[in-house]
Amino acid sequence: MKSYAVALAALLPCLAASLGGVDKAKTIGNPSAPVRIDLFSDFQCPGCKAFHETLLPTLIRDYIVPGKAYIVNREFPLTMHPYSRQAADYATAAAAIGKYQQVADALFQNQVSWSTSGKVWDAVAGVLTPAEQKKVQALAKDPAILAQVQQDVDAGTAQHVPQTPTILVSRGKQQYSFPGPDPGNYPLLRSLINGLLK
């Protein structure tokens, strides 16, 4: 987690100069990097928590920091998880005020707790100031934010995302789906990205 935070701090200038609107805050790295990595994730999925805490920092270290790729976080709340949609709404609302990564970290860190209690807001509120809390609560009900989450879901469905997490690696017209990335198959993912970078 520490290395993830350091990497994020190093990338802040890139984030500031990247996409406009909410997308900017849901993107990690420089969008002019050659390879784009769309990460379809569900805040209530244990595999996504494991990915966020173990593989994501590695991916950031290997590809985002050197400017070879950038990550676009996409919400893909599965219907089997009763609170993941609500979590996605809060995270996307937080993105509108530039707090996506902080809220995402908090949601994954406290996943076991809010998945059991259903108190999603408690995890989110912990990393926001009272003023930010007010904004995020209002934004989480904003139809534009809800539509944005739905847009991600629709995009994932159109790409036949079979599970979470799923990574969509693309460069130009080349686009490949890599479902279930984990430390065990990371050499394959690395080889795939390196192939696109050639």
Binding site: P162, Y176, F178, G180, G184, N185, L188, L189, S191, G195
Partner: protein, 165 residues
């Protein structure tokens, strides 16, 4: 013998064209994408170390292509049908094992991202295995046929007794 061998000959023809076509398509579906995607599907079965997964992912589609062409061409059918049966036996066994263990993984039959293993995919691959076993039996059957009455065992032209596969 000729009357019973004719329908069997047609059956063998249908089986080898169908299986050959499926194998060629499966090979093409894997070869059009980077090998890493097929490797990911193989790796999800959790039976091979990663280095072996890479070897299989890089070579198996080419073998499938060769087998498919061999089946469609109908030359050396005993060899190609035997390899097909062996391959399908291995694929089917691995799919049954994965399904029994409750693994929600892509079968990898037609490339990296494909059907999740289910009763449907088991039925599909099971039917292919059954068809392949029948084809293998038909390919070898001509050897087991007795010589026609009045014809020496070492008939220099036994084509009329052969199943026209």
């Amino acid at each position: 013998m000729a009357s019973s061998s004719k329908p069997l000959g047609w059956l063998a023809l249908v089986l080898r064209i169908a299986l050959g076509g499926i194998f060629i398509y499966a090979a093409w579906a894997k070869l059009r994408d980077p090998w890493e995607l097929y490797a990911l599907a193989i790796n999800s079965y959790e039976v091979l170390p990663l280095w072996a997964v890479e070897v299989v992912a890089r070579t198996l589609p080419w073998l499938e292509l060769l087998v498919g062409i061999g089946l469609v061409a109908g030359v050396g059918l005993r060899i190609w049908s035997s390899i097909t049966s062996l391959l399908l036996l291995v694929f089917f066994s691995l799919m049954v094992r994965a399904y029994a263990k409750g693994m929600q993984i892509s079968c990898g039959c037609f490339g990296g991202t494909g059907d999740i293993i289910s009763p449907w995919t088991l039925l599909r691959d099971g039917s292919m295995l059954a068809g392949s076993l029948v084809l293998t039996w038909l390919a070898f059957a001509r050897r087991r046929q007795p010589a026609a009455p009045g014809r020496p065992v070492s008939d220099p032209n036994p084509a009329s007794d052969r199943i026209p596969v």
